[in-house]
Symmetry: none
Amino acid sequence: MIKLDMRDSRPIYEQIKEEMKKLIIKGALKADEKIPSVRLLASELSINPNTIQHAYRELEAEGYIYSRKATGYFVAPITDNVTNEKKEKLFEELKDILKELNYLNTEKEDIASLIDKIFDN
Amino acid sequence: MIKLDMRDSRPIYEQIKEEMKKLIIKGALKADEKIPSVRLLASELSINPNTIQHAYRELEAEGYIYSRKATGYFVAPITDNVTNEKKEKLFEELKDILKELNYLNTEKEDIASLIDKIFDN
Amino acid sequence: MIKLDMRDSRPIYEQIKEEMKKLIIKGALKADEKIPSVRLLASELSINPNTIQHAYRELEAEGYIYSRKATGYFVAPITDNVTNEKKEKLFEELKDILKELNYLNTEKEDIASLIDKIFDN
Amino acid sequence: MIKLDMRDSRPIYEQIKEEMKKLIIKGALKADEKIPSVRLLASELSINPNTIQHAYRELEAEGYIYSRKATGYFVAPITDNVTNEKKEKLFEELKDILKELNYLNTEKEDIASLIDKIFDN
DNA sequence: GTGGTCTAGACCACC
DNA sequence: GTGGTCTAGACCACT
């Protein structure tokens, strides 16, 4: 389900966060669906359960998943009050990247076509 | 010229790198223009010269500035052979951000207008 | 594993870079193999850990090794996207050396046989 | 006659050395021909005469030029006792470069054709 | 214990 | 005065 790249310089807990986020964004994990338990994922990836716990706690803090005691972690549905804050942050990052691409003389069309590809499925 | 945020979790040298990059991208610093000397910027920001050195060397390695002994650091002009690699990385980041914005039900038009604003000056 | 020549005018960190590069190129260090930790190598060579850090970070930036926090530095496998740039630089150096050897009336065969020796193992 | 690249990180005296060496190797400067005086070249390049002096002295030490008091510097003819030493050094550099190119999976033919181009004029 | 960041302070090469 | 190298020593994040 999740693959770790041992050659990646990012800490393991961060890789897990990103991978999990991508699964949710891709739709591979739907809202209110249970995600693998801390222990299960830890044994599958043969890493320390604390590392998984760390990743899950941050995902929860960022609103991607929620926890129910003694039951596990679940994918959080999209709620407007959280997403607006996230959107703003993403737009900031987007602006910086676009500015740099503009500085590097990138063709506007190359970016437009990428957007079409992603937003029009 | 550059401001540091001590509450920011990013290392100081990273903040300096980013700020300097933004000044170059914005056009506030033009090609072949001298940037503040290691010691000067260090004393202005009240941090150790080694930290500035660290930031400048990485900017140099990434092709944003170049150095001349006994003269100083200068803004590097854009050269195609380096930028292609950078563009690829930026496109990867762009893809991830756009996917997440799509997941959060962002309007395609909001993004298109941001692009127009940046690319059409 | 690595020997330093204090009479050498090159900086210590450069010597370490070159030596480590040679070990990798020779095949004495294989892909994904761990290299000595910053502190260990520093104490073995009786130099400051920062100097090793400096050498390792540049080797990392040049794609020869990669790092994992709390784990160590490892030899990076060869990836095409980075090597093409390196090859171009090496060909430039090669051209200058060959031109000078030609100027000094070197026999073409002496060079051809060196190439055979290295490339045919 | 000589062009300096202000964006080159090498010290100016070294750039002058290399450029002069290349002129000799190319045959643009023939044996026993007079090269520009220290003062003339300094004023042409608008740099400090000491820097030219530095370059010329090193070229003399390496056997590429010789000086005659109150007359100037001249291109040195090729003499076997000096060139053998130089050839050895060049062969060492050549070996290192070829080893690295081999490590990067370069085609032997690409190198062979470069040699043909240079040695067969 | 590992890499990563930072400080304080020193000396060298270049121009 | 400028960048470049190096030391000694400290503290943090990660596993």
